[in-house]
């Protein structure tokens, strides 16, 4: 816990007031003024989450006031709710108790946990009313995420770039040495070197895009994307590749405008692209792939498609790689990409979205992957509060299903207006 520095801070120097202190000529607000509509509006509009809690007798502290940010961050459902039912982190509760008992302020940081953890900084301050305290929570996820990302990026990048680089410098040495006068070997080596260099540049592209996606992961996406159109585009884009492999893509999708996903078009396209790339890569020549788009489905692990018992009998199975928080409440659009490749054994399924994880013994064809494709998919889907399910078994092929929250036109457009009326 980081106490000390701010412990004796006077009540008026709340963090958001630091930037613009009240003009000295204005009188300090009286209690009556504080109840005015303006103060209520200001309270609501503060971007940090602000809560006022009160304790009566020995009963647990209750929330007596909260602003919009607090209600959203903590999912407060009703007034007069107990503090512990929305915020049960022991250190936070401890410092609230402490402030109520001693009247001294506290400050700490905590991590919300869960699938999309938030790092929050918390200030607890005593208010002049009896047994009343105020809690301010500020989201510091972004700053800390950027910091960690930089460290991770460097570690991953240097590790993965070392292999192609070692091979490049090996060939350069050979070309400078005994292969100098051998035109046949030289051409072959140069080909290998150029493919290694291309691999390095793909790797750098993927790493950069992964780190960009990760950095925005907790920012909800905006916009609407037509999943049918995006799937069609991705399939068309692959035509040259699949023509070379004599493969076919079967696309089953509702007409444009019916399968609308809430999310960023570019990112959703990237998800489809990566899944489709994988499917093509691991398909034998002449095989067919199927892509199916469905609208208005619930998130249901049972309805994803394949026969789980059959998969399990062959040593595979179905696994939810990412499930949405409170998934059962929402409607989704679903995209399922299935191939007829070699399939993946059960024990590898949990690790598929791990960075640089490759299923042992699987060759991805002449273009080696970067090992980041599914990691990118997972992070994008997580950002969209969607879900990702894999179904696979050796000899049965592999199918990935992604769920994106459905866009419901009538809801989003009038929401603000009806509230105001």
């Amino acid at each position: 816990m980081e106490l000390g520095q701010h412990r004796y801070m006077p009540v008026l120097s709340f963090p958001w007031r630091r930037a613009a202190p009240p003009l000295p000529s204005e009188p300090a607000p009286s209690v009556e003024q504080a109840d005015s509509p303006m103060f209520a509006a200001v309270f609501e509009a503060i971007p940090d989450a602000v809560l006022v809690v009160r304790r009566e007798g020995t009963a647990p502290a209750k929330i007596v006031a909260s602003n919009v940010a607090a209600r959203e961050t903590l999912r407060i459902r009703a007034d007069e709710e107990q503090l512990v039912s929305v915020l049960r982190h022991p250190e936070v509760l401890g410092s609230v108790e402490d402030t109520l008992n001693t009247g001294e302020g506290n400050e700490l940081r905590y991590d919300s946990g869960g699938l999309r953890p938030q790092m929050l900084r918390v200030w607890v301050r005593s208010l002049p009313m009896p047994q009343t305290a105020m809690i301010v929570l500020r989201d510091e996820t972004e700053a800390r995420r950027v910091e960690r990302m930089r460290v991770d990026f460097l570690a991953n990048a240097s590790h993965e770039l070392r292999t192609p680089l070692a091979s490049l410098s090996g060939f350069i040495e050979t070309l400078q040495g005994h292969a100098k006068e051998d035109p046949e070997a030289r051409d072959r080596f140069l080909d290998i070197m150029s493919s290694q260099a291309k691999r390095m540049s793909r790797l750098i592209d993927d790493l950069l895009s992964l780190s960009r996606i990760e950095r925005n992961e907790h920012v909800p996406p905006s916009g609407v994307c037509d999943l049918s159109l995006a799937a069609r585009e991705a399939a068309d884009g692959l035509l040259p590749t699949i023509a070379a492999k004599t493969a076919r893509i079967e696309l089953l999708a509702p007409p444009p405008g019916e399968a609308l996903a809430l999310g960023e078009r570019d990112q959703i396209s990237q998800v489809i692209q990566n899944l489709l790339d994988n499917a093509v890569k691991y398909s034998p020549d002449g095989a067919s792939l199927s892509m199916r788009v469905e609208s208005d489905v619930a998130f249901d692990t049972d309805a994803a498609g394949a026969d789980v018992a059959a998969l399990r009998d062959s040593g595979g199975g179905r696994l939810t790689l990412l499930s949405p928080e409170r998934g059962h409440e929402n409607r989704y659009v679903r995209l399922r990409v299935a191939d007829h490749g070699r399939g993946i054994a059960r024990e590898h399924l949990p690790r598929l979205t791990e960075r640089f994880y490759r299923v042992p013994g699987q060759k991805s064809g002449e273009i080696p992957g970067t090992g980041l494709g599914l990691a990118i998919v997972k992070h994008i889907v997580n950002r969209h509060r969607g879900a990702l399910i894999v179904e696979s078994a050796p000899g049965h092929g592999t199918a990935f299903s992604v769920y994106f929250p459905m866009h419901e036109p009538e809801q989003t457009s009038v929401r603000g207006v009806t509230k105001a009326l």
């Binding site: 022991p90 040593g315 928080e325 024990e347």
Partner: protein, 238 residues
Amino acid sequence: MMTEHTLKFFEEELSQLKADVVRMGGLAERQVVEAVRAVAERDVAVAEAVVVMDEQLDTLQHEIERCAIRLIALRQPVAHDLRRAVGALKLSLVLERAGDYAKNIAKRALVIGQSDPEIPLTRSVQRMGELVASRLKEALDAYSAGDVKSAKSVWNRDEDIDEHYNSLFRELLTYMMGDPHMITACAHLLFVAKNLERIGDYATSVAEIVQYEIAGEEFADPRPKWSGVEPRPSEASE
């Protein structure tokens, strides 16, 4: 569901009981997260803090047990109120056990931290730990919100924790076969993984108790499960 009680005290006692259980849940959750962190970051101080935290959990468990029994004896609640009291009692026991497993993980973290060279597998354990912690969080969120649907969704998804456990089990065996020097640390990690898997089971127990408390009956359909012990048909035939 929430009917106004003629005795205001009674309602207050019940909600106090729930608040204590949720507080206890917060502690248990924290313990799991910190125990996993102790393993992943080889942090001795964090591991020791988790062991100390367990005492608080035990105290709170006794307190809840005492209050619940007192409430049942004095107020003689029926129907939903009785289930709320019994549910609190059951939850306190489940959370106490989950906390014990977290404490055990922390103790093993002290040993694993001394292993040399470092086992590269702590990352996989961390991933499994994060999954288990988030499942426990969801189950407790369902309890504090009284949300049967969320509880059911936690209950349905225990299988992926089992998958992680089995995958980790195989990995650890491979390491142990590869380098006998690793056996001590790997064996401890194996127990860490098993403990996490047990904590995951407790998260589903929490979900079951939420269902019991609110609906008064158990989940009807059988839970998807594969024990991981008996061989799968494909392996048996090999």
